[in-house]
Symmetry: C2
Subunit: 213 residues, 2 copies
């Protein structure tokens, strides 16, 4: 649809901006400057202005940005109007945390179904999301779902990934420590909790107390 002119770094910050604009809107604020927003989201104000500028001139000089207008703009840009269906695979603690998280609230992303191998869990619901047996994966997703959240043990990862790829998945949010192998047309984002913690500890020990993310 859109061209890919927008830098990836910018694209990653958009959801963040969106949420904070929503907050402001709910608080009844009608205008905001890049400086204020900067303090809230902890991103340099020049970076924010640059990010916004990729979408055109959204603000007014000497005034700032109109919250409602900006919000409307982002809603369109982030495809907030069109609901994206997601499947969650692996209903352990981490998976359960996701099921309780109400993505619909601001995001228009909906976890439609969850899968697990535990027959105790199968047939129940968490946060309104039905849990099916992992064997029914392809059958239940039935081309309705193009995005999967992977919260399963590392040992299961390769097998499930192969099935998802075969099925025709478009994107995977991978929380397992395994680095998965997929064809080029499947987009994978990794979030590795252990690595995040280790990385924080490493930075603490090796980097002087100052600026850095």
């Amino acid at each position: 649809m859109d061209k890919n002119k927008i830098p990836q770094a910018t694209a990653k910050r958009l959801p963040l901006y969106y949420r904070f604009l929503n907050n402001l809107n709910q608080q009844g604020k009608s205008r905001v400057s890049s400086k204020e927003l900067s303090e809230a989201v902890k991103v340099d104000s020049a970076t924010i202005r640059r990010d916004f500028s990729y979408f055109g001139a959204l603000g007014k000089k000497g005034y700032g940005y109109n919250v409602e207008y900006l919000l409307g703009f982002f809603r369109k840009t982030l495809d907030q109007d069109e609901v994206t269906d997601v499947a969650l695979i692996g209903v352990g603690n981490l998976g359960t945390a996701f099921l309780h998280y109400n993505f619909m609230k601001n995001n228009n992303i909906k976890i439609r179904m969850a899968f697990d191998a535990d027959t105790e869990k199968v047939g129940t619901e968490i946060g309104g999301v039905p849990i099916y047996h992992i064997e029914e994966l392809e059958e239940k997703m039935m081309n309705e779902v193009k995005v999967a959240i992977l919260t399963i043990p590392a040992s299961e990862t390769d097998g499930i990934t192969a099935r998802l790829v075969e099925y025709g998945i478009a994107g995977i949010l991978n929380f397992t420590p395994a680095r998965i192998t997929v064809p080029d047309h499947v987009r994978v984002h990794h979030i590795d909790l252990a690595v995040e913690l280790q990385s924080l500890v490493y930075f603490l020990k090796h980097y002087p107390l100052d600026t850095a993310e």
Copy 2:
């Protein structure tokens, strides 16, 4: 200790390399090339060589890297010999997932204690980690713990953060959707689950199927 010559992008990849080297070692492999490692961790081989090169010449031309040697080297570099104590704040589903995660296995990071406001949970243990009441935060941490994992509701975030800062925390791994405000000497890493999911969805819709992370 070390100078901060190492690029941040490199530093963030170190824990990942470390884990995969550990895997290889356990599989009995004694040598590995940057190309093989590249396929395993999904990082360009030139980037891996460059990353390693910041620590000196760790490999041998025409041969690759000795797994055991490299592992020993990283163990020192990542301070694996010295245990880092961590406190987890908020024993919900996400917090519980962390408590079950055995960070000690490869990482020498240990969650020593957890805190929650729920008196049902207080006094129990999860994964061998004792759960105390949130009111006892400062008392129990008592300068033993310098790193905190924040898995509490957004509404509690500012209050708890203020207490952590007052206490003298050095680093915070923040899983709440709130962006916290801390003095310069406190390092914060944010992991925002909703943003990660939204960002994946955005990339799927707006970026042609190809390369990009």
